[in-house]
Symmetry: C2
Subunit: 307 residues, 2 copies
Amino acid sequence: MSLKLSILGCHSATPRSFAYPTSQFLEINGDYFLIDCGEGTQLQLRKNKIKFSKIKHIFISHLHGDHFFGLIGLISTFSLLSRDKELHIYAPKGIKKIIEIQLQLTYSWLSYPLKFHELENKESELIFENERVTVHTIPLKHRIYTNGFLFREKPKERRINIEEVRKHPEIETCDYHNLKKGKDYTFSNGDILSNKEVTFDPPKPLSYAFCSDTAYYPDIVTQIKNIDLLYHESTFLEDRAELAKTTKHSTALQAAKIAEMAQVKKLLLGHFSSRYKDEDLFLKEARTIFKEVKLSHEGDVISIENS
Amino acid sequence: MSLKLSILGCHSATPRSFAYPTSQFLEINGDYFLIDCGEGTQLQLRKNKIKFSKIKHIFISHLHGDHFFGLIGLISTFSLLSRDKELHIYAPKGIKKIIEIQLQLTYSWLSYPLKFHELENKESELIFENERVTVHTIPLKHRIYTNGFLFREKPKERRINIEEVRKHPEIETCDYHNLKKGKDYTFSNGDILSNKEVTFDPPKPLSYAFCSDTAYYPDIVTQIKNIDLLYHESTFLEDRAELAKTTKHSTALQAAKIAEMAQVKKLLLGHFSSRYKDEDLFLKEARTIFKEVKLSHEGDVISIENS
């Protein structure tokens, strides 16, 4: 089980010389996901040496420009590079019209199938699933319809304890299939061998939640309980708690409160407002409540492994 | 008279780690113009320390993404920064729909008036004029409707030769107005004083033409004859002359031919394809025909003064 998160951009909307708006690239259990796609994301992917061909699923939290203005460029570039694989976009209703009108008015024909999955449900829903991973929306509280995303590895099978299993000559290799699934073994004489005696626990599945943009919103706590990594926006510090409230953003302290309530293993802060020159202040403020906190920086890679 | 051109991006569409698509900022005779606005232009403006408030007129050559995908981001950022001055966009028909649908679906209300001047004329036309500068379109030959832009300083008034004029006590300060306009002076006895005896020529007006994207298209030569600076795309070298022809781009040699025929003072090449690792080859190829040639690089500033 492994999770690797690359930070491509982690700043709020107003541009600075060397800061990019939101975008992340997640590698989880062998699958790849792009989360948000602010202006300049394609350049950041290049800088971070992430192959374009790995991107098959793009999740957009909400239709504010700093979270999706880089999408049309990426979609176009894929076509210039003669991509043929399907690309799936999961984003609030409206995205299809925005992209399609641009393709139409620029006389662009894509070299690959582009599939839109438009979101409008206000309850959490399963929006992606394969044999290895699930992705659920996390409804957030912002000025417009916004979802966070919860990525969870699926549990792997139990692992055979070869040394123990060999002590029972009656058990054959073809029985391993049931043992891996956690079933007990019934001998021909009717005796039962407890599964745990001949298998090891599988590695614990990892989980990651992306929560941006959002006001302080404790409703999300149940959904992200005990996850391994939480990215929570912290546009402001407590000195601007009122502004956070009116613009429906969070402070570093509020992000830390959510992390503490949800008992997550690690908190990652981001979406910093340009008004703060010293970003270490976000770290200090959050640490007053929650210790395992880290700031995002463009180019950072956060890796978690469970073996 | 002065002209200062800042290169914000000068590469063709496929992204590289440290290369930006087309955008230029032109300062001419005290006026400011942004030409094309590829993705990342707002970041490049910041890096080049160009104040956003200077931008009142944006010219878009054509609706291929590498020339305008940065426009929606810039328009939005201006609003986030509470701009109140009008912004004028001169671009092919379709731009209004593209921008307005994004503003509408992102629930954005601009803090300033946004005025579109949609272009569809296939003949050259005057699209901007004030007391100091004119801007004409230069119809180009590309896969879709495309205009270059010709920026010309208006001639300044003649300058009074104080030493000479004082030799004629009858001429008063209030007569200077007519002398500056080039009129001869008629003494009270009917004698005529030739204007040239008491004035200097004004500095020669400067001119700049932006021609991208375009196939080799000698029709433009008449319009750009003798200008001070020509930016002409050179996506390819002659080794890809066939590809240039089918994609309606130019080679460095073709750009040089245009410069030679138009007898421009200086040629600036750009819009380089990512297939060429050594950009000096563009310079070498163009120099076989035209000596006064320069390559664009992001961050370059080209200044011309006539005093």
